[in-house]
Amino acid sequence: MSEVVPPLQKNYIANLVKKGKRIDSRKLDEYREIKITPSFIGNAEGSALVELGGTKVLVGIKLEIGEPFKDTPDKGVLITNAELVPLASPEFEPGPPDENAIELARVVDRGIRESEALNLEKMVIKEGEHVWLTFIDIHILDHDGNLFDASTIGAVTALLTAKKPKAYMENGEVKIVDEWEPLPMEWIPASVTIGRINEKLMVDPNFEEENVLDAKICIVFDDGNKICAIQKVFGVLSIEQMKEAVKLSEKKSSEIRQMIMEAVKGEVEKHEKRKGKKQKNR
């Protein structure tokens, strides 16, 4: 959100919304075109280029072997980082991640971590000593609004298509074999960002819309109909609007999930099997 709102632009968009219309002629509950290109980067263990309208996000997964955290010796480590590089927008400045980059990284991380999409317990080589560190690096290339959803789509797709070599212990040392297997993914969380303007909700605000919204909220659903993360990014919502946003995001999240599954088709079968089992146990 830029800091000074141009009032004319705001009125124009607000009036359109009152009639259920938007500046790019979408419906209020319609996403821009989503294009997902998995495995874009050869040097990454997993990656995805996501184009959401004019927004371009590249996510890469890198794996390393390291120590677990002291208080979770039986779990791998997940580290999510976002870079709002100045290439992507005249608003982004060089330097360490600012509050917006950190919020973005932490919300994407939360959606994946809290949904337990990546089973960190299966990312252990030897409990308390050697685990897989999974780095999710989010690189914004062009910022045309709704970075949260584009980044979550990218991160989830990259994880679903990532491969890791087999590793085991031998004589107290970690051995790695050149046999590659997918990461233990259990769920496909999907994030839905909703804007409020003129008391109406709209999904997937673009950059111009974000600049004039009264409120923005991001809601992430796992694929078992549970909310696994919420973040009100700015503005206020009434209680009714909040409940409406949750319902809307539940619906849209399954459409997005469908697109991710489409993009990673090869992976889908495996995932469906896993999911089938899970749902029964639930």
Partner: protein, 242 residues
């Protein structure tokens, strides 16, 4: 002290429906709120919420440095949430980390809708939050105190902002999670509201909740915010009654 690592308790709510600290499911921890405790700040507040101890200072509206940070049509609200090194069981290294940077931002966004920032263009209003001791729920306690410190500083407000968390622990929806419940519970849902206008200014969630559970959590938070609002009003009256 982190070198005496506590194990996860088997149950967070016992057979009598009581929580580890003896509270009932929908019971708030005791809250003490005091206005105007600092000499230098333009406004201040000190809150004890359970074992949480937080002090908030407000400076401003005041000149802004560097100048190009000034906004032409309103005051720039800046928030700094910071934990003292000794506030946590394990010593926290001084300086902002990623968590505190995110919290500073969401707290700022929780307070901003309540302020008439447009009355002070080109200035800064600074909210400094120091967590002296933490026991779970520092962000909602911080918002509750900061809102009072802003009032104490005489910043004109649409409404106070009251905040509280609900969550899911041992499968049940509970109010006002403490540290252990936050760490070992299933979900945490901090909410801030402008109580009179019934508008949500902060909502975050992590963990897993169904939509029904979410709606229930939302409801008990709204009720709790009304109670916290009373605490806030009393604290303000206390200050100004002399």
């Amino acid at each position: 002290m982190s070198y005496l690592l506590k194990e996860k308790p088997k149950k967070l709510i016992n057979e009598n429906g009581l929580r580890l600290d003896g509270r009932k499911r929908l019971e708030l921890r005791p809250i003490k709120l005091k206005v105007g405790t600092l000499k230098n700040a333009n406004g201040s507040a000190y809150i004890e919420w359970g074992r949480n101890k937080i002090i908030v200072a407000v400076y401003g509206p005041r000149e802004i440095h560097p100048k190009h940070m000034a906004l032409p049509t309103e005051a720039r609200l800046r928030c700094r949430y910071s934990m003292a090194a000794f506030s946590t069981p394990e010593r926290k290294r001084p300086g902002p980390d990623r968590r505190s940077i995110e919290l500073s931002k969401v707290i700022k966004e929780a307070l901003k809708p309540a302020l008439f920032l447009e009355r002070f263009p080109k200035t800064a209003i600074d909210v400094f939050i120091e967590v002296l001791e933490s026991e779970g729920g520092t962000r909602v306690a911080s918002i509750t105190a900061a809102s009072i410190a802003l009032a104490d500083a005489g910043i004109p407000m649409r409404d106070l902002v009251a905040a509280c968390a609900a969550g899911k622990v041992d499968g049940q929806i509970v109010l006002d999670l403490n540290s252990a419940e936050d760490m070992y519970g299933e979900a945490d849902l901090p909410i801030a509201m402008m109580p009179r206008k019934k508008e949500i200014t902060l909502i975050q969630m992590d963990g897993k909740m169904s939509i029904d559970e979410f709606n229930e959590s939302l409801k008990i938070c709204i009720d709790a915010c009304d109670k916290i609002y009373e605490v806030q009003r009393k604290a303000l009256i206390e200050k100004f009654k002399v």
